[in-house]
Amino acid sequence: MDRTVIGLTVGFALVALLGVFVLPDWLMSQILIAFSRALAVLGLLVLWRTGLISFGHALYFGLGAYTVAMLGKDLGITEVLITLPAAGLVAALVGFALGFIIRKYREIFFAMLNLAFSMVLFGILVKTEALGSTDGFSVEQPTLFGIGTDDSTTKLTALFLGICVIGWLAAIFVHRYLRSILGNLTTAVRDNEIRVEYLGYSVAEAIHGKYVMSAALAGLAGGFMALALGQVDPESMVNWTVSGELVFVTVLAGPGSVAAPFIGSLVFELLRTYAFELVPYAWQLIVGGTLLAVIFFLPGGLWSVISKLGGRSRPSDPPANREEAGR
């Protein structure tokens, strides 16, 4: 057991206990939404450590959300133990197929090609009357082991515990992966692809693997988001602004740790809610200003503050970006 695993376990257990016994419902639902998004951010974090940023992961987010919603609507399957894995699987399969094309691209081309694919899905969904076009449609009542509930508090608590467990598992999985040989290639690929090839590894396959992983995580995140909101529509699930939000949270959180996406995502959700309540017409101003401030003054994201407060320097973590690596 290393410190990160212990930290994650304690942290998630604490959040789960606090949520069930202390926190008010509105905060629980904020955490639920924030952690759902954080799953997708976790995938983007793996890509970012490889030096890649996708402006189109709403594609997989939306695929996951629509998979959950359509399984309930068209096939009557509402069992979350089936629908959520299906959401991740559908996203992973599409990610696997597109990955053969996407893995050849870097930098801005990687970002834009992802954007193009996600906008194609957006265009299709908006024009599909059977799926409610721009209005979308509501998600059937989810069930666990065949049990569903109409009581909103019970449902919220169940979903909340669910996201805590899945978030914990996903974070540990990604952490273990990043410590493995394949995971360690992440930083190596970013720093020098040619050297990685000389070491005998395939850069294309390493990137492909990370891409599929990030797609699966985004699909799972979208599936959870569909359950949390009880509604899917193209604008809030697949549009490029959704991809923008995911990238935003990735930068806000910082690449320092697998725990960062969860913290960053929660901060983002609270920031957005409060900004919207304080100044309804200027919440984008606050959110955009925060993004600029983070880029200029906090290149390591929120996590760099936390690790500084914790007073430990962790040489094993890669620097936040190339500048810090002393280019």
Binding site: F248, A282, P299
Partner: protein, 298 residues
């Protein structure tokens, strides 16, 4: 035949305004290597400023044709003031950072500028149709064509020619070409790269604002309409090849005609046909159809 003509004119009209906006985006990318998401905000600011000015002029008793003066005024004011301010405060401090980080910074800037619009101009839509009344329609092949749209096509042709001339026949154009080719080498040769960056950014901002100002009379200027144009002009620039003026023209024509065809004949594909083409171009020619030649670095 009539249908083909309608598609052609509609498509050309759409393409010409896309070309003006995308031209600004593509020269900023070509020279500064910055993919400027905030370009959509220049566009929106230009449209708002123009619609506001036309309204003011109109109440002052200026003739419908006279209100067209608002278009260049709005474009220049927004481009010079906003473009300069942003280059001096934000963009200048980003040179040399990671490409993707710069895109995110301009994304943050875009969000901020979008909301400042709401604070300045309010949330109600603006209608500034006076210039469209001033220019008489024309009969082409038995179909009535909107005169204002035709002036837009003429304007974009003129802008295309002027920018080609500046880039290929003037000293400034040579400086810009040198920087696009290899900015490090340009610095070594004594080119004041920072100054060229500044001028190009402001010119790009003026073009973005001009696109918005010119389209303003034909639409209702309302919050959030700068969003769509960013993604569309990105598609144009990517299809044509980032940093290429000819590419922006070809990309805008392709996107404009495809859109017009889809809207009139095949509405189901209207929203994604552009992005499907963009994906196809990226797959087969990642540098775009007309990418400028890249320097081979040793």
């Amino acid at each position: 035949m009539d249908l083909a003509l309608t598609i052609l004119v509609e498509g050309l009209g759409y393409a010409s305004y896309l070309f003006i906006v995308s031209l600004g985006l593509t020269i900023i990318f070509g020279v500064l290597k910055i993919l400027n998401v905030a370009h959509g905000a220049f566009y929106a600011w230009g449209a708002y400023a123009c619609a506001f000015l036309i309204g003011e002029f109109s109440t002052m008793g200026v003739s419908d044709l006279g209100t067209m003066v608002a278009i260049p005024i709005a474009a220049l004011a927004v481009g010079l003031v906003l473009g300069s301010a942003i280059e001096r405060t934000i963009i200048r401090n980003l040179y040399g950072r990671d490409e993707v980080i710069i895109v995110l910074a301009t994304f943050g800037l875009f969000l901020v500028l979008e909301d400042v619009i709401l604070l300045v101009f309010g949330v109600d839509p603006y209608f500034a149709f006076q210039p469209t009344l001033a220019i008489p329609g024309v009969q082409i092949g038995g179909i009535y064509q909107d005169g204002y749209k035709l002036t837009m096509i003429a304007l974009s042709l003129a802008i295309g020619l002027v920018s080609w001339f500046v880039l290929n026949r003037t000293h400034w154009g040579k400086l810009v070409s040198a920087i696009i080719f290899d900015s490090d080498l340009a610095v070594a040769m004594g080119v004041n790269v920072r100054r060229v960056f500044y001028v190009v950014f402001v010119v790009g901002a003026v073009l973005g604002a001009l696109g918005g100002a010119y389209i303003a009379p034909t639409i209702s200027v309302s919050p959030g309409f700068g969003v769509e144009v960013i993604v569309l002009s990105f598609a144009v620039v990517v299809i044509g090849g980032m940093g290429s003026i000819g590419g922006a023209a070809i990309g805008a024509l392709l996107v404009g005609l495809l859109r017009a065809y889809a809207v009139l004949q095949w509405p189901e594909i209207e929203l994604f046909v552009v992005y499907a083409v963009m994906a196809a171009v990226l797959i087969f020619r990642p540098e775009g159809l007309f990418a400028p030649a890249k320097a081979r670095k040793i």
